[in-house]
C-alpha cells in the first residue's frame, strides 16, 4: 500500500482535534435543543463504541444510556464487546432482545431471491432497533445518537429510518479509516477497533464481504472522488483500479436519495426545503 499512500492516500485526520470538535458539536447541539441526555444503540462494533465514548466525554457517562439490542442470531462476541465498552465508560445500559418483536414480521416475509430476503430481514431488524431507541429516548427525555460514518453514508450502506435515523450524526463526516484513528484516540478497546466490521444481521456477515472491497480501498477511492473531486481517469492514473472507481462512483450517485429528505411537490407560497429555510433550532424553539 505504500505506493498508493503517495498517489491515492487515505484521508488524513488529526484525531485529537477531531475529538475536540465533535465533543463541542454534541454539547452545542444539546444546549440548542434543550436536552441533557443521549441514547445510543451499542452493537459492540467500533462505530457505536466510538460514538458512546464521544457522548460520554461530551455530557458525562451518567447521562448516556447504551441500549444493547441483540437478535437471536446475533453473535455472542458482539455482546461481550458492547459490555466491554459499557464497563469502561461506566454508563447506564439496558438489554432489549428484539427477537420477539421481529419474528412475527419475519414470518410474513418470503422472497425467492436469497440476497433480497437478507436485505429485507436486515431492514426489519434495523428498523425495530430504531423503534426501541426512539421509545427509550422519549422515556429518558433524551436524543438518539447516530452511528453512521461517512463511508457508509456515501455508499448508502445503511437502512433508511433504521440505523440511519438519529437526532445527531457526530461521526457522519469521518471515513471508516479515520474513525479508527479517532477510536484509538478515545481509548476504545483495541479488540473493538480491530475486529472486522459487521452489521451482524446474519451469522458470518461482514461489511467488507458485502461491499466487495476493503474499507482501505473504498476510503482511498471515496476521498479521491468526493473530497478531491477527481475524475475517474485521474483516479486510475493514481493507481486505483478503474472498475472499483467506477462502481464506487455509481453507487454514490445511486444512493443520493438516502442522504436527502424526500422531495416535496411545491404548491404553496412558501415551502420548507425550498424557501422556508431555518437553522434547526432558534431562540424560542428550545423546549
Amino acid at each position: 500500500m505504500t505506493e498508493l499512500d503517495e498517489t491515492a492516500p487515505l484521508p488524513a485526520i488529526d484525531p485529537a482535534l477531531a475529538v475536540e470538535i465533535i465533543v463541542g458539536f454534541i454539547r452545542r447541539q444539546m444546549e440548542q435543543a434543550g436536552f441533557s441526555r443521549l441514547v445510543i444503540g451499542l452493537s459492540g462494533g467500533v462505530d457505536s463504541a466510538t460514538v458512546a465514548y464521544l457522548a460520554a466525554r461530551a455530557i458525562g457517562a451518567d447521562n448516556l444510556l447504551a441500549v444493547r439490542m441483540p437478535f437471536r442470531t446475533s453473535s455472542e462476541a458482539s455482546e461481550t464487546d458492547a459490555m466491554r465498552v459499557v464497563n469502561a465508560l461506566g454508563c447506564r445500559t439496558e438489554r432489549v432482545d428484539i427477537t420477539p418483536m421481529v419474528e412475527p414480521m419475519l414470518a410474513l416475509i418470503e422472497d425467492s431471491d436469497a440476497a433480497a430476503l437478507n436485505v429485507r430481514r436486515g431492514n426489519v431488524m434495523a428498523r425495530q432497533r430504531m423503534i426501541v431507541l426512539y421509545d427509550r429516548s422519549a422515556a429518558e427525555d433524551a436524543l438518539v445518537m447516530g452511528t453512521s460514518n461517512k463511508t457508509e453514508a456515501l455508499l448508502g450502506y445503511g437502512t433508511l429510518h433504521g440505523d440511519m435515523a438519529a437526532a445527531l450524526a457526530p461521526i457522519g463526516d469521518l471515513y471508516k479509516t479515520q474513525l479508527r484513528a479517532v477510536a484509538r484516540q478515545l481509548g476504545v478497546p483495541e479488540q473493538v477497533v480491530q475486529k472486522p466490521p459487521s452489521a451482524d444481521l446474519w451469522p458470518g456477515q461482514t461489511d467488507e464481504g458485502e461491499l466487495g472491497r476493503s474499507y482501505d480501498m473504498l476510503d482511498r477511492t471515496l476521498y479521491a472522488l468526493v473530497d478531491r473531486r477527481w475524475t475517474v481517469d485521474r483516479c486510475e492514473r493514481a493507481g486505483l483500479p478503474r472498475d472499483l472507481v467506477e462502481s464506487v462512483q455509481q453507487r454514490v450517485a445511486r444512493m443520493e436519495f438516502k442522504r436527502q429528505l424526500p422531495p416535496v411537490a411545491k404548491l404553496s407560497l412558501r415551502t420548507p426545503g425550498f424557501d422556508h429555510l431555518y437553522p434547526r433550532r432558534r431562540p424560542g424553539s428550545k423546549r
Binding site: A12, D14, I21, R28, Q29, Q32, L277, P279, R282
Partner: protein, 293 residues
C-alpha cells in the same frame, strides 16, 4: 504613540440578539480591563452566522440604540462588531459597525458574499457597494473595515490602504474544512499569509478577529491576529477556543515603515486606473476599449 487592540474571538449564539449583546458586553469589559483602545469582535457577532431566513428577525438599523450601545461599558473605547443591518430601503447586509461612546463612526457592508461550496450568503443578504475608510481620530487615525470574504479580494484592502487607512480591521466567521488535515492547515495558513502580505504591501497594520464555536455542525477556527505594518505578527489568538488577546501598535512604526518602504506613495494610480478601464472595457466587449491607450 502607542495604542492597544483587543481581539475578542468568541462563539455568538445563533439568532439570539439579546444573548449576544450580553456576551459582547462581557468582552468589552474584559478588554477595558486590559486597557484596550479598540476592541474587535467577529463577523455577525450580534447574531451568529448560519441565519438563513432568520435574517430579518435579527436585523438592526445602523442607528438602533442596541447597536450604538455596544461599548457603553467602556467610555472612550472604539468597538468594531459584525451584525445584520437593515437599511432604510429594507436591504439586508452583513455589516460591521465602528462605534464609540454611542456614536457610529464607520460602517462597512460586506462587498463579497461567498455563495459557493458550503457558503450560501448571497441567498440571504445583499452586497455592499462602498469601500471606504473611517476617521477614528488620534492615535489610530483612519480605519478600513471589511468582513471576512472581502479579504479574498486584494483590491479591497489595497484600496483602503491607498485611501489613507492607518489600520485595517477584518471581522470574520471562517468555518473549517478538513480541520487538522493538510487541506485544513493550508486554508488557515492561506488566511494568515494573506494578512501578512496585505500589511506588508499596504504598509499598514491590521487586526483580524475570527469567531470560534460550532453552529449546525460547522466549526469556526479562530486564530485572530494583529499584524504590524511590516507584516510581522504582533499577537495571535489560539485556534478553536474562545480568547481575548491584546496587541500593542505604535504609530511611530507606521511612520518609520513608510519612509523605509514608500511603495504606497509610489503606487501609479493613474496608470492602474487606465489599465483597469481597458480591462473592464475588454471584458465587457466595449468596442475600441483595446485602443484606449
Amino acid at each position: 504613540m502607542e495604542y492597544r487592540i483587543a481581539l475578542a474571538q468568541f462563539a455568538p449564539r445563533l439568532g439570539d440578539l439579546d444573548a449576544n449583546l450580553a456576551l459582547v458586553a462581557d468582552r468589552v469589559r474584559a478588554a477595558a480591563a486590559e486597557g484596550a483602545d479598540l476592541t474587535v469582535l467577529p463577523e455577525l457577532a450580534l447574531t451568529g452566522y448560519l441565519l438563513q431566513d432568520l435574517v430579518p428577525d435579527v436585523a438592526l438599523a445602523a442607528d438602533d440604540p442596541r447597536l450604538l450601545g455596544i461599548g457603553a461599558e467602556a467610555p472612550g473605547m472604539l468597538v468594531a462588531a459584525g451584525f445584520v443591518e437593515e437599511t432604510a430601503e429594507h436591504r439586508y447586509c452583513n455589516s460591521v459597525a465602528l462605534v464609540r461612546d454611542g456614536v457610529l463612526l464607520g460602517l462597512h457592508r460586506k462587498v463579497y458574499l461567498p455563495t459557493y461550496g458550503l457558503f450560501d450568503e448571497g441567498r440571504f443578504t445583499r452586497t455592499g457597494d462602498r469601500i471606504r475608510t473611517h476617521d477614528a481620530g488620534a492615535p489610530i487615525g483612519r480605519i478600513g473595515l471589511s468582513v471576512c470574504e472581502d479579504f479574498w479580494h486584494p483590491s479591497l484592502p489595497m484600496l483602503q490602504a491607498l485611501d489613507g487607512a492607518s489600520l485595517l480591521v477584518n471581522v470574520a466567521a471562517g468555518p473549517s474544512r478538513a480541520p487538522g488535515g493538510p487541506a485544513g492547515l493550508a486554508a488557515i495558513a492561506g488566511w494568515h499569509k494573506m494578512q501578512d502580505t496585505y500589511a506588508l504591501l499596504g504598509t499598514v497594520p491590521l487586526a483580524f478577529c475570527n469567531r470560534v464555536g460550532n453552529e449546525e455542525g460547522l466549526t469556526f477556527w479562530g486564530g485572530s491576529r494583529v499584524v504590524g505594518a511590516d507584516g510581522s505578527v504582533v499577537v495571535e489568538a489560539p485556534l478553536w477556543e474562545e480568547a481575548l488577546v491584546v496587541g500593542t501598535l505604535d504609530t511611530d512604526d507606521l511612520r518609520t515603515q513608510r519612509y523605509g518602504l514608500p511603495i504606497l506613495a509610489d503606487e501609479r494610480l493613474e496608470l492602474v486606473r487606465r489599465e483597469l478601464d481597458r480591462v473592464i472595457g475588454e471584458r465587457a466587449g466595449i468596442d475600441g476599449a483595446a485602443e484606449a491607450e
